[in-house]
């Protein structure tokens, strides 16, 4: 399977959002496919998901500025007023 051959998701995401030096919480980070589209410019990313298998896949890539947690969106494991961006990745 070939997905998004024209990289429209990357282009649209970066056309609307400036991730530069941002602290990002990605809800539904899954296997990290979306995280890879912007991790190189973000300062730090917390990715949360409920799927352990997907989190393991994402962990294999071990991106330096990405921390992965098993958590749900109803009790976010993040302090108040700390994130620049909260990204619901197919999770809302």
């Amino acid at each position: 399977m070939l997905s998004d051959p024209e990289n429209l998701e990357y282009l649209k995401l970066h056309s609307l959002v400036d991730f530069s030096s941002k602290l990002v919480l990605e809800i539904g980070s899954g296997d990290g496919r979306l995280t890879e589209l912007y991790h190189d410019v973000a300062q730090s990313i917390v990715g949360i998901d409920l799927d352990f298998d997907d989190l393991q896949i994402a962990q294999e890539d071990a991106l330096d500025n990405v921390n992965l947690l098993m958590a749900n969106a109803f009790i976010l494991p993040v302090r108040i007023n700390t994130m620049d961006v909260v990204l619901f990745a197919r999770a809302l």
Partner: protein, 138 residues
Amino acid sequence: MVHALTEAWRVLKPDGLLIDLRPIRSNQEILLTTDDNSQHIAYYTDAYRHQNDLSANDAIETALSENLFAYQSQADFPFIRHFDTAQEFRDYCANRYPPLTISDAIFDQLAPADTSPEIQVTFTTKNSLKCYQRLNLA
């Protein structure tokens, strides 16, 4: 879902950005494609996921009405998946959770992709990317 948005509001800095990126699971298009042509086969609406989409829309509307966030911008774009064979597309549908319930009649129409290497199955889903700014009073 509203509670999840309230949580997002809690953890965001003042003026932080909420991004809602998700596929629109109605009228997803199934096509047979070659390098030069495309042939529409069917539209597919995933009833279960489409209902989730509507609930998410309602949650966003509630969060906006409660002045947690303000709409900022959006972009819609097609998310395209190409499959070399109909069988590959069938496996993709079966492995989704919950599975995509596409009829055998539609798969029958995709059979040429199993016999002609130049023909692919293309599955196109409209994606919605919306940005909201966190408001400081709630």
